[in-house]
């Protein structure tokens, strides 16, 4: 069975601090895809990044970076120099080739001014 665990339920940091959101996944398949989504208070889930299981290269996009490590089954997300607009619930998710997305329970991030 597939599973995604986001152990951090809620995190609060002061603006401009760096923050890392943890994600651990479980699957026996060798082909899978990992995602991060952001859900602001408005409710719409916003796609941030997709990685496939064969590409462990880390990625940086502006203030966002992602660290994918198959050895520890982790796909962590770091926000550098956080801003108030980053406040949201962040979901890590896993899908196999059938496209059925399995979401973690989310991490609620508060960026304090």
């Amino acid at each position: 069975a597939q599973k995604v665990t986001q152990a951090q339920t809620e995190i609060s940091v002061v603006e401009k601090e760096d923050v890392t959101l943890d994600c651990v996944y479980e699957t026996r398949d060798t082909t899978y895809y990992l995602f991060w989504y952001k859900q602001p208070p408005s409710g719409e889930l916003v796609f941030l990044i997709r990685r496939n299981s064969f590409d462990e290269q880390n990625e940086i996009s502006g203030r966002y970076s992602w660290n994918f490590q198959k050895s520890t089954s982790s796909f962590n997300f770091t926000i550098t120099a956080s801003q108030v607009v980053d406040s949201a619930v962040y979901f890590c998710a896993l899908t196999l080739r059938d496209d059925k997305i399995i979401f973690g329970k989310g991490t609620r991030l508060h960026i304090l001014p």
């Binding site: 899978y32 989504y37 409710g43 796609f47 997709r50 998710a93 496209d99 059925k100 997305i101 979401f103």
Partner: protein, 114 residues
Amino acid sequence: DAGVTQSPTHLIKTRGQQVTLRCSPKSGHDTVSWYQQALGQGPQFIFQYYEEEERQRGNFPDRFSGHQFPNYSSELNVNALLLGDSALYLCASSSGWGGGQPQHFGDGTRLSIL
């Protein structure tokens, strides 16, 4: 470029009633998935439609059914509503089936059961 649109935005029903939620996918997308998100939880996969057929189904009872039309839009029907069906229902669309394509989500329909 219109994104995923869902209607209605909010809905209030009573136990035992039936409800239909609607979704239009993002332009160029042909696959539609539905998710239920209870308060404080991650979205739970209900089912997915591609080429007007249900391709995948999550752990939801038969009270939850759906349909996809030739224009790729989709409906989610829930019969015999229970209090526990109160949730945000999210529709997501993507291009093709299989291959782990990113899914683009609508704003959701908030369903309240009294």
